[in-house]
Symmetry: C2
Subunit: 447 residues, 2 copies
């Protein structure tokens, strides 16, 4: 079985179309690969050396075979470039655009043939390629000051669209999530979602997969691979091109027809595959599933210091098919006696603006055996909530194997508290509804 | 007709329960009122002077009548305090909690009677009161370092929940929106949503109203007032307590039964009132409606430099009942000739990663008469997008009376570009779907 390791973790790369100009893709890419843990061979007839690296006029002149070639030449030249790489490498990323997505289907077919005849597996064309922070592999032609990269972590991202991939990676960086592998496969002339999914299913560094797609090549193959992957780890799918005009937009974007969405969607459902509704839910899903393990269950306990936010969280839980059952009578009586009379002891448990950090701990301890998951809401605008709340939640969570997520908001402490929580494995969300969505994913529910 | 001006823009305030302690509500409130444009009379028997202000032992000792009293005494004392204010003021805010929301319905009825007998209109109890940045009126017992206040602007916020109000205000501050009036009415023993809505309908400084509610006192009165308000300016309603357990949570929160949501929701719809689905949509609505006027129409043009984001925007528009019709044939031919062959000229119009700022301007100029609204997507990770794009969009928008919103993301320029746009009246959103929601609101559609 082909592991795609030469693509995601190559030991050597030939960069076809390297350039010293830092405002050209070939120059940006060379710069972004400066930390790469392996050998880099710039290929260009125009220079003898760039950034201290010896250049080679053509692939045939390379001193050794490479694991991966990255091709940045104009579209019309690419089939010949691929043919020239025969016996020099097994994988090539075709970054160049200007194939089926601009109506040049014949050129794309020519590219496919060239790859097949040369025995080279192709990623792309019209793609950004791959990102693997563990190896400092980064084939994106976006300078560092234009795109913030996420740290190393356990989230993999597979996207048909380059822009969506980049937005997702920046979003993950912003919320402090880390990435194991990221890949944009563009027009998918050869390598497609199924093989990438199979690779990620086996990848031990990946715990959750975010997938964006607009179209599917071979439907059966796609579903089979998606099922295999989802059987191993959480897979969150965002399918765009849902509506009629979205479908034609998706066609001009990657040159493949999106297919009837309703059919696709119902097949996903029949196969137990999780589909998310919009972009933001992919990020929220990563937030939750990269930090905690999925368990089964539906009974959620909500503990809040803000009545309204608690009510919104209950609404969102119920909408998502979860339950927020009342507190067991004996626990209720016990908490009523130990809390001030104006705390509303129920589910949600409203500790009011008078709350102190320790009250959350007291409530959680009393309720830990009675619910499947805990949603803690802390608006930090009140005096009794401090950064010490993070310790209390982290300690509680360390003693259970149930999901605990937080909605932290409002107040200058919120940002700091959120960071402390995330660092210790507790996902924090900016609204009650998004926190409820996090809980739903952790309880194995759909997006 | 009672204008509620003494409540929202009083010339003088008596603060019953003032304190020098900056960690007590009475002290925080006094501090927050330090910039108040009017007279403040601290009332407390324990001190002769606080922060340079003469204190009065009881309301009867006040040197003159005041427009507004703010009451911070323990719940049990409040009815007597109100009785003591007879002939001293016409409005009082009861900040104190511990009434119907904690099962003390009799005490709340006693409070209602006291207000009625004293001829004093009451806001609350169990509320934060009012915020009016134009007068530096701020009755929230939250220190400035615990809650960021928004600037002065044209968005009014009316919330039954104090925590939701505070979260909304911080959210508005974060996105750069300004506030005209904000009010939290809590248990609504007297003043309720209808009178507050009527006041805001008349208030010339308010262009859009965000309303959060969990329960409605007199349904007919509520609907009538909401209709009057929505007839004058956009009103976005978020009703919490939608689900059965949400309803009982809402009861313990403000002591009023939430009613059957489905009935309420269908009545809203029948009356053409706009309901939003969750918290974040209130903020997104404010972003759009505070900057641009609603118009009628449904035909949206999407111009993007990121194919995938364009497809997601089309999906979201279609889901929201909008149309994204193809480009007129002659415009399409013209743009095809003036743009590089790899731009995907359609709707969405995909200018690809090779875009330059001026391309957006060229496309908008060619399409301005053919659509009702424009959704511009700019991922700033590519070299051709600069802050100059703001100028181009602002100039285009100055010449039309149609909505133009942006989805700006990804790339270190995004934050700056977003700020520039918002400052010049163009709402910018962090995801394609949320931008589409903004367009939908500006085209008069539901949330």
């Amino acid at each position: 079985m082909n592991s795609l390791d030469p693509l995601f973790a190559p030991r050597s790369i030939a960069l076809i179309g390297a350039s010293p100009r830092t405002d050209s893709p070939g120059g940006i890419l060379l710069h972004n690969l400066s930390g790469f843990r392996g050998d880099i061979y710039p290929v260009t007839p125009a220079h003898r050396e760039i950034r201290g690296l010896t250049c080679y006029p053509e692939p045939a002149a390379l001193p050794e075979n490479v694991d991966l070639a990255v091709i940045l030449r104009p579209a019309a030249e690419v089939p010949a470039v691929v043919a020239g790489l025969r016996n020099r490498c097994r994988y090539a990323i075709v970054v160049s655009a200007g194939f089926a997505e601009t109506g040049r289907g014949a050129l794309q077919e020519e590219l496919a043939r060239a790859g097949h005849e040369a025995g080279i597996r192709l990623l792309g064309p019209n793609c950004l390629g791959v990102f693997n922070p563990a190896r400092q592999l980064d084939t994106f032609f976006l300078p560092a000051d234009r795109m913030r990269r996420p740290r190393r972590g356990n989230v993999a991202v597979v996207s048909q669209s380059g822009a969506v991939l980049v937005s997702l990676l920046e979003g993950l960086a912003k919320i402090g999530s880390g990435v194991s592998r990221a890949v944009n496969y563009g027009n998918a002339v050869d390598l497609d979602a199924p093989e990438l999914y199979d690779y990620l299913a086996e990848d031990s560094g990946t715990d959750v997969v975010l997938a964006y797609l607009e179209s599917v090549g071979d439907g059966r193959r796609f579903i089979a691979a998606a099922r295999r992957l989802a059987g191993r780890k959480p897979l969150l799918l965002l399918k765009a091109g849902k509506e009629r005009s979205g479908q034609s937009a998706a066609f001009s974007h990657t040159g493949r027809l999106a297919g009837r969405y309703e059919v696709f969607s119902s097949i996903l459902q029949q196969n137990g595959l999780r589909e998310v509704g919009e972009f933001e839910e992919l990020l929220d899903g990563a937030r939750a599933l990269s930090l905690q393990r999925q368990v089964s269950g539906a009974r959620v306990c909500i503990i809040t210091n803000a009545g309204g936010a608690g009510v919104l969280a209950v609404d969102a839980c119920m909408r998502g098919g979860l339950e927020t059952p009342p507190l067991p009578r004996d626990v209720l009586e016990g908490l009523r006696q130990s809390f001030p009379p104006f705390y509303a002891v129920g589910n949600p448990l409203d500790l009011t603006g008078q709350v102190r950090d320790a009250d959350y701990g007291k409530a959680l301890a009393a309720l830990r055996d009675h619910y499947d998951a805990f949603l803690v809401i802390a608006l930090t605008g009140v005096a009794g909530v401090t950064l010490g709340l993070a310790d209390i939640l982290v300690k509680f969570r360390a003693g259970i194997s149930k999901p605990l997520v937080a909605h932290v908001a409002q107040g200058r402490l919120a940002g700091k508290l959120e960071k402390l929580l995330v660092k210790s494995g507790i996902p924090a969300f900016p609204t009650p509804e998004r926190a409820a969505r996090g809980i739903r994913l952790l309880l194995g529910g759909g997006g």
